[in-house]
Symmetry: D2
Subunit: 341 residues, 4 copies
Amino acid sequence: MIRVAVVGAAGYIGGELLRLLIGHPEVEVAGAVSSRFPGKRVDGVHPNLRSATDLLFCTADEVEDCDAVFLATPHRAAMTQMDRWIGRAKQVFDLTGDFRLDDPEVFERYYGVEHAAPHLLGDFVPGIPELYRDRLGSADLVSVPGCMAVAGVLSLYPLVARDLIEPKAQIDARTGSSGSGATAGQANLHAERSGAMRVFAPTGHRHEAEISRHLGVEAAMTATGVEAVRGVQTLCHATLRPGVDEAAVRRAFREQYQDEPFVRLVAQKRGTFRYPEPKILLGSNFCDVGYAVDAETGRLVTIAALDNLVKGGAGNAVQCLNIRMGWPEDLGLSFTGLHPA
Amino acid sequence: MIRVAVVGAAGYIGGELLRLLIGHPEVEVAGAVSSRFPGKRVDGVHPNLRSATDLLFCTADEVEDCDAVFLATPHRAAMTQMDRWIGRAKQVFDLTGDFRLDDPEVFERYYGVEHAAPHLLGDFVPGIPELYRDRLGSADLVSVPGCMAVAGVLSLYPLVARDLIEPKAQIDARTGSSGSGATAGQANLHAERSGAMRVFAPTGHRHEAEISRHLGVEAAMTATGVEAVRGVQTLCHATLRPGVDEAAVRRAFREQYQDEPFVRLVAQKRGTFRYPEPKILLGSNFCDVGYAVDAETGRLVTIAALDNLVKGGAGNAVQCLNIRMGWPEDLGLSFTGLHPA
Amino acid sequence: MIRVAVVGAAGYIGGELLRLLIGHPEVEVAGAVSSRFPGKRVDGVHPNLRSATDLLFCTADEVEDCDAVFLATPHRAAMTQMDRWIGRAKQVFDLTGDFRLDDPEVFERYYGVEHAAPHLLGDFVPGIPELYRDRLGSADLVSVPGCMAVAGVLSLYPLVARDLIEPKAQIDARTGSSGSGATAGQANLHAERSGAMRVFAPTGHRHEAEISRHLGVEAAMTATGVEAVRGVQTLCHATLRPGVDEAAVRRAFREQYQDEPFVRLVAQKRGTFRYPEPKILLGSNFCDVGYAVDAETGRLVTIAALDNLVKGGAGNAVQCLNIRMGWPEDLGLSFTGLHPA
Amino acid sequence: MIRVAVVGAAGYIGGELLRLLIGHPEVEVAGAVSSRFPGKRVDGVHPNLRSATDLLFCTADEVEDCDAVFLATPHRAAMTQMDRWIGRAKQVFDLTGDFRLDDPEVFERYYGVEHAAPHLLGDFVPGIPELYRDRLGSADLVSVPGCMAVAGVLSLYPLVARDLIEPKAQIDARTGSSGSGATAGQANLHAERSGAMRVFAPTGHRHEAEISRHLGVEAAMTATGVEAVRGVQTLCHATLRPGVDEAAVRRAFREQYQDEPFVRLVAQKRGTFRYPEPKILLGSNFCDVGYAVDAETGRLVTIAALDNLVKGGAGNAVQCLNIRMGWPEDLGLSFTGLHPA
């Protein structure tokens, strides 16, 4: 058993971390930090945890030393308090955007502020097990990527790694409302957000910078909020290299992911769920990936789906923890998702 | 053409008033008062009105004298400024809760504050055309009832008026999220409210007091927020007087509403939409009413459905205006609703 | 390890049984019977089970003898094949409506057909652990109750058992679309059912007969389909006996359920989720129960929420299996539900 | 007053035609043809039309000669009966896919069947007022385009017409469930379709062929079903010609659409609804168009939104009728849409 703390525990990612960590057989949750609700019951904010925990939220100062800390604060809050947490826990898993880009200039362009701890940027290992498993095995600082970045990266990586596509991708990302967080504003009221197809970032979404970083391709993302609470789907449009056919694409995905515990290839000829669909992944740590090829034009579409709070956040972080600790990678992450849901 | 102003014009009821009044052939909207957005474009807040109006929001002071004013402020704000509006417009249509109850003690019990203008309570005619059409024909002060009250009243009135039921009703009301208004708090974020069945008033909802007032029955309401933006449905449970059968119930509804422009009897043997369903009434001024009788026990269930922002608010107010002005009652209110929607 | 079969495995309850039984550490799924899809992959119909199973659907004849069989066929199919299954498995868990009522006349009134196996009606123990745990410990024939019946029964039982209310309840039940099953007709198309408040049974819903049976009260149910895929909520309206106050009600619920693994008392003064809400229970086996009292009138409202496919079906059946086998009651049922969802 | 008939009147497009034509001041609906429901009341299938019509469905043979006929049958049924309707009505408005492409080979590639009336293909004028208004003024045969084609075409046309972009576009289209029609199958059950992000055509959607035809660009469409009943949104990704900047793009849209009654430019710096959003267009005939430019890369995204049953179908057809008859173009089409909804 290790002792862990969650900082930003009243948010949606924080709550999902608590759900997974409280249910994890090798973990004891020693602290749930919330600056808004110190002293209040955790299950008052996260009612799904009733009967699972009697924990109260606490302040950052009240956290006793623990083995690992998970940061799920708002963006920009993590980089200013990172030094402090590094001194108090052996491992730090950062789920904010603050350490996802390794170049401070790119960070500033996408986040609009100067980075507060550029000296640490190089020390964080990206929390993408499928690309960085070896480094994660010994990493003490992990930066868990953005939800749409995970989806985009995993659906393109097998092709990029084998040089099967031109190094350029247009990514159409769709996301549910939980991605806006528990303190979102009036634009996220149910009456405004319900049934929406809200193009909130036609160009320049931050997560495109992560995709470019990890894959070395020119990535351009358009992001739209659609009706769902949880769920992210990305469609990546790319062009096959001359001579590359559908069989090569299929082979690439199979080879890459056949032993991955949480990536499934979903690209079938028929069936309602023949392509990746977030709706059946709620609560699960899977990222389903698929593709379609237009043989005539060499046009390729890859599709990925995940639950933004799990494989796009808290679950991915726990998977990284499992890797770091040498535990089975799916420990505490075995929920399959629901159908129908 | 008459000149009208809408106060509280940035809210959901205010926006619906603007939509209906801008489209009304005999009305010119002379002012749209918003304390939050003075000087801003109306269609910035109500984007459905793009190309329909170039109006800007203004302050209350900027409203020039007009023939009629519609108040859609938060509850409690209307009663403190009522004297002022009475002096500036020939007719005042109040869509808040402030003048819906004629007894200041009942008001205080249900609203938790003392009434600020008890001397005016008796001067307001309730804005329910189906019950008070004659008085509305000459009324200069109209209090438009609560959305769930309209539904409950219209689905019980034919039976109460003919003394067909025991004077007691349990009302189960369901409502969409727009009823919480455009400035609702965190509990109404999409992620929290989506797919909800939220019992927000198991006992003592304010609208039950209106039903009791208009029908003279003991009314007990339970209110639940369900997944919808617009839409109210009430189920009223009552007991038939001895000897009253289903034929008498049907006859009562038919007699009562056969000439009503906006009340339809919906109680069929089969069909997906055999009972009143708010989903097909979005944007329309209809209140559909129906019933079912358990012949063995004498148990009666009446069902009503409406769009809370139209027949449950702005549309009802415009209907009252039409009556007052002697115009056709459905002027500007002819939209039928959509199917599917 | 015991071997089990699921009959009607391509339906929604069948799929949920498979999800829970495949994940159950003491169970091996030996057969998934579907008359529609024999020979097809189970995860083609239930895509959430991809990577969890390679099972194919089979015919009833292909099922080899197994320890327990779970019947999730359409209503009326179970009673005609029950004798056969009794001969082939030690335990039979029936999730259809066929053995939920012990009186063949009441069955005929509510189901519209004569019972095909009235000799067996008395042999089935109702699958409600909270009321019949002792009998379930040795039961070889279990009839799992209707989803809305479970909710209604659990939210009234503590009060009925202590004689705190008049023996009469009006139940307002709301349900998601999954209750209509995987082969529902055109009325359940998304375009028709989305955002609906569909009163499909204003009087006489079958589940009221189960509530009457288990509690000995006169139960009258009105059932409405609301927007949700999973989820049932019941509101029960009853009257407190003279002299009974809120404290007595609270005490009754506490005493009754303090040691129950899957019933939680949710009745708080404030908070978005202060009353039972199905939305946070998706995938979980909890039934949350709560209440509100109108002290002045003695009016009582009890509220219950559950996932109709889990505590209202498959999860409840697995809980009964656990009891019968002497396993920990929550084995394979530990999923907490999600927030937000 | 002219007399019109609707064929395929029980479908969703057929129902929307009836709604608009019944409310049209210059039109009398003389026949509502349905092969499934002859003799049944129209408002039994389209419950929003209760009290608006007493019409019964009839067979095709029962339609008396009328001035105009609107065909909203399933695809492929129109081309086999077209000769017949041409002989019986002065104008034919075809809302199926059968006459949207003028090249029979392209038709066969996209629809998978040989065209049954290739001799008529050249006689149909495309029902896109914004491109073909002059020809529509005298057209007796009009083919109303696909919903996603309208959106795509209108959001690219100003740029193509001025040669501001490279002749290639990748279109990401999202659609609500009503696009699947009133007789959709099990995959469109609410439980399966609710909350979905269903990629049903990753490549090769039929509507891309229409966009290519009307604009002369290479169009590649990916189509996804998202949670909504009504509503289509298209995102078109293209590349600006060298030297073209955002100002030129804005000018192109303004010039093109400033006098169009049903196209609005929506591309604002801020606001929840700063880009086209179908949610506020339900029931309206608007197509909102907008754009975003990435100045650094010359990447362009255009965005369009409409109600697939109105501007994407029935409303567009009525607009074409108005043009043909010389009536005001917005006659019977003045509904603004709702907010919130």
